[in-house]
Amino acid sequence: MASTKVKVPKKSDGLNVFEKLGNRFSYFVKRFTDGSFGTKLSHLIFGAGSFYHKQYVKGALFLLLQLAILAVMIFCPSVNGTPYGWKALVNLPLMNTTEGGFDPATMTTLLPSDCRLIVLFGFVTIALILIYILVWNLNVESSYKADNDRKVGKNPTTFREDLQALLDAKFHVTMLTPTCIAAAVFTILPTVFMISLAFTTYNLYDMNALETKLFHWNGIENFMAVFTGEGALGAEINNRFLPVLGWTLIWAVFATLTCYFGGIILALLINKKGLKGQKVFRTIFILTIAIPQFISLLAVRNLLAQYGPVNQLLKNMGLITESIGFLGLNRGDSEILAKVMVIVINMWVGIPYTMLMTSGILMNIPSDLYEAARVDGASTTKMFFKITLPYVVFVTTPYLISSFVGNINSFNTIYLLTGGNPEYLNFKAGGTDLLVTWLYKLTIDEGMYNTGAVIGIFTFLITAVITLVTYRRSRAYNEEDTFQ
């Protein structure tokens, strides 16, 4: 059977990266040698080709961009005493930082270096260089295209035509540019910056106040500290690393499965044939989704508090004499109980959501499947396990994966319910801390940015591996464009 399944080779499959690069390079050479004088000149001066072809507005835009980027690169404007441009690149190795103070050589007072900004601006400058190369390519390409238009007797496109193309053939450029810029500035740049902090000594926990902004690169020392326990704080971090990792995975598995199957069962109950008041029940559960999590979770936390109603009720019933620390908020409370409680309370949060989703899917199950099963004399239980469950699981596999990943990163539930307790001492993670809440404590509370970044990268690797392995195999990915 396997032999019949021949993979259809794609056009690009036969080429490896080097061949692709080679092709690209020879195209660049051809573009230069074949191009008109304007095209040749535009390799050096942006927009020259456009001027040559009388596309003045376009040429002016290219030239303006080139001048702007070059101005930043050469004159190095600075923000808060930290420069952009070539100086930023020189500073990026963090070798010539200063503590500030009076400099007798120049008779001036120097500001202390801010290494965070040096690294950040260094990356911005690198991004600027990439943009420069991109615009360079665009401008040469535009000129070369105009050359070719001339050769076949067409007029080069006018600026008006270029603008119109942005609404038609190049509409995707118009539509994606805002998102790409926003993502570059607010997602990619910050992520790259945080990753880079993992390779620095930026750690306020053992820095004195004077040098809070002074740090340097230290290779993989932080990774060694977390994974093997080397270094000054390494042992304490490393001690807590495996327990937190283990709990994160246990939590993710239980939180996902309980909510998933709980939701399916609830959906089955609500959608039962002949049941009246379906709408009322659905509305009640949707209500709990609509209420902001910080409200409902803090409400539950206070319900279960030491002197709260639940403990009082249990006391009145004579079941307990001392308050139970359900969420491990006080010293000496049970860690196991806190862990069980967050999983149980998370069902309260998650089940209505799965219920809503599976309700729609349940209604879509072809009814002839059930008819056929009934004719064959299958029992209700059997139909559930043989038809309903496989169908729902099959359709919602992508959701199952994304909810597993979501649970690994489930910050709100833990932070609002237990705050990671019990036994939270400085940067040591508490009994219910997940990797993400630990990351939050390490960075926001303790200023251990480098260790936090290591934990963040590690969390990313876990989720990435899980997602890529399962998602790439899934139907939704491979047949992504079948419905189009």
Binding site: F171, K272, F294, Q312, W348, F460
Partner: protein, 310 residues
């Protein structure tokens, strides 16, 4: 033979009735469990109990049902100053409303444009773009949050105590900038719109822009409402981003969730503000729950689409 059949039918219908009764019982119990925390918050908001010496009891008490009811919590909530900000709660509400409204417009626009491109346009970078956006989405949000804070702070748009309003702009940027990456649900919706519709419009000479705003947008009303609902309610529900970017020093410019959270855990909380916190929760929850209830159909549609598409 016929009596046997009637008997069988009768026992079947009795079985069915029993199983229905059990279902009702289970559902009612579950509904009560799910409603308890909500009911309790509402009861606490209206709680008006005093100690024998006349001081108001604002902390968590062990009785589920209040001994007496009143509107004192709501009155205090709207008139009291928190962190020396007069009428703080009203300001927080107004702030959140502005942030949510602007974020809603920007985010919805970004999501729709990306989703349309990914679903209906063919271009070279389509698949790479989808893969990159998926990989980026896997990084924990907090990692970039701290860097976004540094970034915004270096241009004065975060933790700005001189011009606190600038931090609000920063927060709006932080909320809406990432929106375009969450295009999957909307893309799934666009995928279902038949391509033949787009093709025939193209034959009639429509540009891609015309197809988008004359054909796709009118058909996309459910998903527009879903996205708008999601991005509008986001700022009301989030508190970590708001807390970090606006900063602890600008209590007058907090969003309502940061304010309410700090009533329980912040510097000015004295554990006696729980009933006021509850009153605040009720005030916040009312508009959001109303929106959800009115737009329930669209929400369910979006969630279901998201389930299958991941």
């Amino acid at each position: 033979m016929s009596t046997l059949n009637t008997k069988k039918v009768a026992s079947q219908s009795r079985n069915r009735r029993i199983s229905l009764a059990v279902t009702y019982a289970v559902l009612v119990v579950l509904a009560v469990i799910w409603l308890i925390p909500i009911v309790w918050i509402i009861l606490s908001a209206f709680r008006c109990e005093y100690q024998p010496d006349g001081t108001f009891i604002g902390k968590v008490t062990s009785n589920f049902f209040p001994k007496s009811y009143g509107l004192k919590n709501f009155r205090d909530l709207f008139t009291a100053s928190y962190s020396n900000v007069p009428h703080a709660f009203l300001r927080w509400m107004l702030n959140t409303l502005i942030i949510a409204a602007v974020d809603c417009i920007i985010s919805t626009f970004l999501v729709l444009s990306v989703a349309y491109c990914m679903s209906k346009l063919k271009f070279r970078m389509r698949k790479p773009f989808m893969n990159i956006s998926m990989i980026i989405g896997l990084f924990p949000g907090f990692m970039s949050m701290i860097a976004i804070y540094f970034l915004l702070k270096s241009i004065g748009l975060a933790g700005n105590t001189e011009h606190p309003a600038y931090s609000v702009i920063g927060l709006i940027l932080a909320y809406s900038a990432g929106a375009g990456m969450g295009f999957q649900v909307a893309k799934g919706f666009f995928d279902v719109i038949p391509n033949a519709l787009v093709e025939s419009a193209k034959l009639d000479g429509c540009t891609n822009f015309q197809i988008f705003h004359r054909i796709i947008i009118p058909l996309a009303k459910p998903i527009i409402i879903y996205q708008a609902l999601m991005s509008f309610t986001g700022p009301w529900m989030d508190f970590i981003f708001a807390k970090v970017i606006i900063g602890a020093d600008n209590p007058g410019y907090w969003t309502v969730s940061v304010g309410l959270y700090s009533m329980l855990f912040g510097s000015f909380s004295d554990a006696n503000l729980f009933t006021q916190f509850a009153a605040g929760c009720v005030i916040v929850a009312i508009p959001i729950v109303t929106l959800f209830m009115f737009l329930q159909r669209y929400y369910v549609e979006g969630v279901t689409a998201g389930a299958v598409k991941g």
